[in-house]
């Protein structure tokens, strides 16, 4: 009985966060911190920091990563399932309803005009998100090189209509990172052996 109660609490808490956070993962991290570390005390602040690192360095939506982790820590597999479900349900319901009448909504002249303006704003938002990450990233030779190559190649490919999925850049530079690390590691090891 206690278990059902705790699962239900988890579900409601996640649903609340899914329903009231705007602006994606990073905005959500504040809310999760407030709800689960400060108020409910389900996680210590160090574990929460750890969780944020995990959520940022694994693929997928940050909010989903966080809710799965918190759910698992709280109540095992079932907890993870319930928490993730709670996080998704509000989004799913709201967006599904909007998608039903979005096209007829766009047929209204002033709405279409408004969305012309909004499209520019969305590009601006993407651009600022990129700049924020650019500011935070360490400007090592490797990082700057990867960014320049990816950026230039991507723009060129798009201008010349070469189809090359973004996924390949991620795979290529993931492998490059690993290779450079391995070469450095082997070189260090050889140096030590010679001594």
């Amino acid at each position: 009985m206690n278990k059902i109660k705790s699962l239900f609490g988890l579900f409601i808490a996640m649903m609340k966060i899914g329903m009231f956070t705007f602006g994606g993962g990073y905005a959500m991290i504040n809310l999760l911190d407030n709800e689960f570390v400060e108020r409910k005390r389900w996680l210590g602040s160090e574990e929460f920091m750890n969780l944020v690192t995990i959520a940022e360095s694994t693929p997928g939506p940050i909010a989903i990563n966080c809710s799965t982790y918190i759910g698992y820590k709280r109540a095992g597999f079932l907890g993870a399932l319930i928490a993730t479900l709670g996080m998704c349900i509000p989004s799913f319901a709201i967006i599904y309803l909007i998608s039903l009448f979005f096209n007829s909504f766009l047929e209204i002249k002033w709405v279409a005009s408004a969305f012309h303006g909004i499209q520019v704003c969305v590009v601006f938002l993407i651009l600022t998100a990129g700049f924020k990450m650019l500011k935070k990233i360490k400007k090592t030779l490797f990082n700057v090189g990867v960014m320049l190559i990816t950026f230039c190649v991507m723009i060129l490919f798009s201008l010349f209509s070469v189809s090359f999925s973004s996924i390949f850049y991620i795979l290529i530079f993931g492998v490059a990172g690993l290779l450079i690390y391995t070469v450095g590691y082997l070189r260090n090891k050889n140096g030590e052996d010679e001594k």
Binding site: M87, T150, L159, V175
Partner: protein
Amino acid sequence: MIFLKLFLTFLKIGAVSFGGGYGMISIIRDDCLANGWLTEEELLNFIAVAESTPGPIAVNMATFVGSSQGGVLGAFLATLGVVLPSFVIILLIASVFTKLLKYAGVKAILGGIRPAIVALILGTAVTMLLSLGVGIKNVHSTPNFDYRTLIVLAVICAISFAYSKWKRKSLSPIILIVISGALGVLLYGV
């Protein structure tokens, strides 16, 4: 088979997109444009809706694209697809590989991916801007300059910059979306 395709496409997107909602946009854009599911403008509209409704952007995008291509079942399968990889990976990390991220090799891979993601986000924004403001989609398209795009961009930049100087925090995206919507009505007519 649209349902299977939606599920697999979003499964792939969920499995390889790092860096939150915006890191995902370049991949969603590639797949949606390649499959002919969305035009550039529809994609931007969808992102605007995803940004101004609550919940994770990726889930919102998946639901929206899924619903537009395959109704409620399409929406369900696309959302399931985008969530599933996260769910499985986090479960594994929380239960079995608790120290996975401490391995130097894993760190090295992530270190290679991170700068690529930053460039992908910036590159996506620049290509979108080229196609929206100057009408350049590729070298064969004739430039079709739209001064109104530049006006909206300039006003949004100015407001957002002034606000962040004044309040020392950034303006909520929703307020920027509302302002640019009003500008759109002014410039493109009722």
